[in-house]
């Protein structure tokens, strides 16, 4: 019997800790939600932000009889639907009236902003960046494979005037402003992601503020130069039959042939029309951005494109023709950036061929004088025209006083 009692006492002693362990995890006390009437509290929100588990008892009570009564200040709408109110705000049939600010201030909700933001920080940044880096990489590869395009044979030492002073001034006005606009635009696009983490937010903020001033004001020099360049060179950039020969011989870039060309060859004509058309489009969207909400142009453009049937050609739904003033700005910004990336890639190639890519090319825009051998090899028809003009001019002619 004593042994039995001892065994019982031993088993009881063993069982004690286990009982204590089972009793230990007591249910957590319900958070004090008296302030919110039982709904979630600030602590719940903070826990959710930290990824921690939130006591579901707070959420379960939302919208129950804890809600304020219909007649109270924050009461529910009763039979009316909240979602209908939000939908009306979202799609602009809410009848909101404002005493100042016009149509822009009327818009309380504009969900197109999210699509624009995602496009701008997603595909635009990614593909735009790769387009520029890819162009630089392709040119580097081309340089390694082809090397610098040299003048065949000896230079003559005699020069001809390729571009007059005003032509060169206009070119550099356009080129310098475009480079400034390109860099400042890229800073604005990529500064937060690639400059701030390395050089600091303060530096990035200062750089972006300066970029904004430069971008907004230098744009006028670009637009003026674009007009100059158009009128100076449009006549020389009308396509002709020699362009076909130029393309057939790959412009002489691949191989050793020198296709005949007048003042501008087919490759230069592509550059010219790219600058005029894309630069013109960038200027138009840029003006729309410079004077916010004053020059909306996308809804009008989309009406024309829909009438022509462009979306159908691309297998797309008709473009939106009713948009809020803010959406107009978003389309203008997106288009401005897309076209700018394309033009930047083209201009990088132009800078390459006009500098390290071809011997003697820079002189045309530097001093304006090119060697006759260079002119003969790259613009033979233009040189012929120039010589014929010289012959036609009377030798005893004196310049007007």
């Amino acid at each position: 019997m004593r042994a039995l009692l001892c065994l019982f006492a031993f088993c009881f002693a063993l069982a004690l800790p286990a009982t204590a362990q089972e009793a230990e995890p007591t249910a957590p006390a319900a958070p004090d939600r008296s302030v919110t009437g039982g709904a979630q509290t600030l602590e719940d929100i903070l826990r959710r932000q930290q990824g921690l588990e939130v006591d579901p008892r707070g959420e379960a009570l939302i919208g129950d009889d804890t809600a304020a009564g219909m007649a109270q200040q924050l009461g529910t709408l009763g039979g009316a639907s909240d979602s209908e109110v939000w939908r009306a705000l979202r799609y602009g049939y809410d009848g909101v009236e404002v005493s100042a600010g016009g149509p822009v201030a009327r818009v309380l909700m504009q969900d197109g902003g999210m699509a624009w933001y995602e496009f701008r920080s997603g595909p635009l940044a990614t593909y735009g960046g790769w387009l520029l880096l890819g162009t630089i990489g392709a040119l580097l590869l081309f340089y390694l494979l082809r090397g610098r395009i040299m003048v065949d044979g000896e230079k003559t030492g005699r020069t001809v005037t390729r571009f007059q002073a005003f032509e060169r001034f206009s070119h550099w006005l356009l080129a310098g402003s475009f480079i400034l606009l390109g860099f400042t635009g890229l800073f604005v696009k990529y500064g937060r992601d690639y400059i701030a983490p390395y050089l600091g937010k303060e530096f990035n903020a200062t750089l972006l503020e300066a970029s904004k001033y430069i971008h907004n004001n230098v744009s006028w020099a670009f637009m003026i130069a674009l007009v100059f360049v158009f009128f100076l060179w449009v006549w020389h950039n009308i396509p002709n039959r020699h362009d076909i020969t130029w393309f057939a011989q790959a412009g002489g870039i691949v191989g050793s042939k020198h296709p005949p060309a007048k003042k501008f060859n087919a490759g230069q004509k592509i550059i010219f029309w790219s600058v005029i058309i894309l630069g013109g489009s960038i200027s138009a969207s840029g003006l729309s951005l410079l004077f916010p909400y004053e020059l909306p142009m996308f809804a009008k453009t989309f009406v024309i494109l829909n009438d022509i049937g462009v979306p159908g050609w691309l297998g797309m739904a008709p473009f939106p023709i009713e948009m809020s003033p803010q959406e107009e700005m978003q389309f203008a910004q997106a288009w401005h950036a897309i076209v700018s990336f394309v033009l930047m890639a083209i201009i990088i190639a132009h800078i390459y061929i006009g500098s390290v890519g071809m011997e003697g090319a820079y002189d045309a825009m530097g001093s304006g004088e090119v060697d006759e051998a260079w002119a003969e090899q790259h613009h033979s028809l233009w040189l012929e025209e120039l010589r014929e003009k010289e012959k036609a001019a009377p030798k005893d002619a004196t310049p007007a006083e």
Binding site: S170, A175, V218, S367
Partner: protein, 41 residues
């Protein structure tokens, strides 16, 4: 080279002129988006 330099100077001149002309003409955001009850400067 001279034409290039003149072109670059032209960018600065046009840019500065544009800034002051637009500022004077009341095209700054502060002017455009302010009203008697909204001051943005």
């Amino acid at each position: 080279m001279k034409a290039m330099m003149v072109g670059f100077v032209g960018i600065v001149v046009i840019g500065v002129a544009a800034y002051f002309v637009l500022e004077q003409a009341g095209f700054s955001s502060a002017d455009v988006f302010s009203s008697p009850s909204v001051r943005l400067d």
